[in-house]
C-alpha cells in the first residue's frame, strides 16, 4: 500500500474516533456499558503526530474532504465506491500503489 495512504487512513480512524467519543450520546452509552473516556488529550496528540507525517498538499485535500463529506477515505468493494455507489474504472485495483480518487465523488478510495 502507498505509505502516505496508510498514514492517511490511520489519521482518519483517529479523527473519527475523536468525533465519536466527543458525541455526548455515544459517550453516555459508552459510560453505561462501563467505558469512561478519560484521556482525550492523548487522542489529540496521536492525531497531530500522524498529521505531521502527511504531505501538506495531501493533508489539505484530506481535510477539505473531511469537512465536505465527514469521511475522506471510503471503502471500495467489487470496484464500487461504497460512499456514492458508482463503479470505478477497471484499471483501479487492490494492488495499486497510487492513491486513487473516486471518479465521481472524488473521495479517496480504500480497496477493502
Amino acid at each position: 500500500m502507498n505509505p502516505q495512504l496508510e498514514i492517511l487512513i490511520m489519521l482518519q480512524d483517529v479523527d473519527l474516533m475523536i468525533r465519536e467519543v466527543s458525541d455526548l450520546k455515544t459517550a453516555r452509552q459508552m459510560s453505561r456499558i462501563g467505558f469512561e473516556i478519560d484521556e482525550m488529550d492523548n487522542l489529540r496528540d496521536a492525531r497531530e503526530e500522524l498529521a505531521r507525517k502527511v504531505e501538506p498538499d495531501l493533508l489539505t485535500t484530506y481535510q477539505r474532504l473531511m469537512e465536505k463529506y465527514q469521511r475522506a477515505i471510503v471503502p471500495v468493494r467489487n470496484n464500487v465506491c461504497l460512499a456514492c455507489f458508482l463503479k470505478q474504472p477497471t484499471k483501479y485495483s487492490v494492488t495499486d500503489e497510487a492513491i486513487r480518487w473516486c471518479s465521481h465523488c472524488k473521495r479517496i478510495l480504500y480497496f477493502i
Partner: protein, 167 residues
C-alpha cells in the same frame, strides 16, 4: 466502572451474540507479554484468516483507542475495540489466554479472556455498542468467566455463554 457494575445492553439477544462467534475467530491460547503484543497477535490472526487486509492500520487504531483508557475492564476480561476504515463488517474475535496477559487492566490483574470487537465507520445495523454491552454482560458472573476459560473450542465457549443468566 468494572465488570460487576456495568449495565446490561438491552439491544442484543444471546442468540444474536452467539451468531458473531465464528470458529476461525477463536484463538484457544493467546500468548503475549504485553498489551501491544496481544493486540498485534490478535490482528495478525485476523489478517491470516483474511478478515482484514491491512493489519498495521487496524493495530494502530486499537492501540490508539487504548490511550483513552484501558479496555482491560477487570476480573481477567479485556474488550479491545475500535472502528476502522479497513474493517468491512462488524467482527468479534475471541482469544483465551490461559497464562494471562499483562494488559494494564483497570484492576491491575492479568487478562485471560479477550473479546476484540471491530466495526466499519458506518454499519447499517448499528450493533457496535450493543455488542460491546453484550460482552460486558456475559462476562459479569465469575462462574461464567470460569466456564469460558475452560472452553477449549468454540462449541464449549458457546455452551458456556448459553448458560449465562440474562437479567
Amino acid at each position: 466502572m468494572g465488570v460487576a457494575e456495568a449495565k446490561p445492553s438491552p439491544a442484543m439477544t444471546n442468540r444474536d451474540f452467539l451468531g458473531f462467534l465464528q470458529s476461525d475467530l477463536f484463538i484457544p491460547d493467546l500468548r503475549a507479554s504485553s498489551k501491544n503484543e496481544a493486540i498485534d497477535r490478535m490482528v495478525a490472526h485476523l489478517v491470516q484468516k483474511n478478515r482484514v487486509r491491512d493489519g498495521r492500520i487496524l493495530s494502530e487504531a486499537l492501540k490508539t483507542r487504548e490511550k483513552l483508557g484501558s479496555t482491560g475492564i477487570g476480573k481477567g476480561v479485556a474488550i479491545p475495540h475500535s472502528r476502522s476504515t479497513v474493517t468491512g463488517a462488524l467482527t468479534l474475535l475471541y482469544a483465551r489466554a490461559v497464562e494471562g496477559v499483562d494488559y494494564d487492566a483497570v484492576d491491575g490483574k492479568p487478562v485471560h479472556l479477550f473479546f476484540m470487537i471491530l466495526a466499519p465507520h458506518q454499519e447499517k445495523e448499528n450493533a457496535y455498542l450493543p455488542l460491546l454491552g453484550k460482552v460486558v454482560e456475559v462476562t459479569r458472573e465469575a462462574t461464567a468467566r470460569r466456564r469460558m476459560l475452560k472452553a477449549e473450542d468454540l462449541e464449549a465457549l458457546k455452551a458456556a455463554i448459553e448458560q449465562v443468566k440474562v437479567k
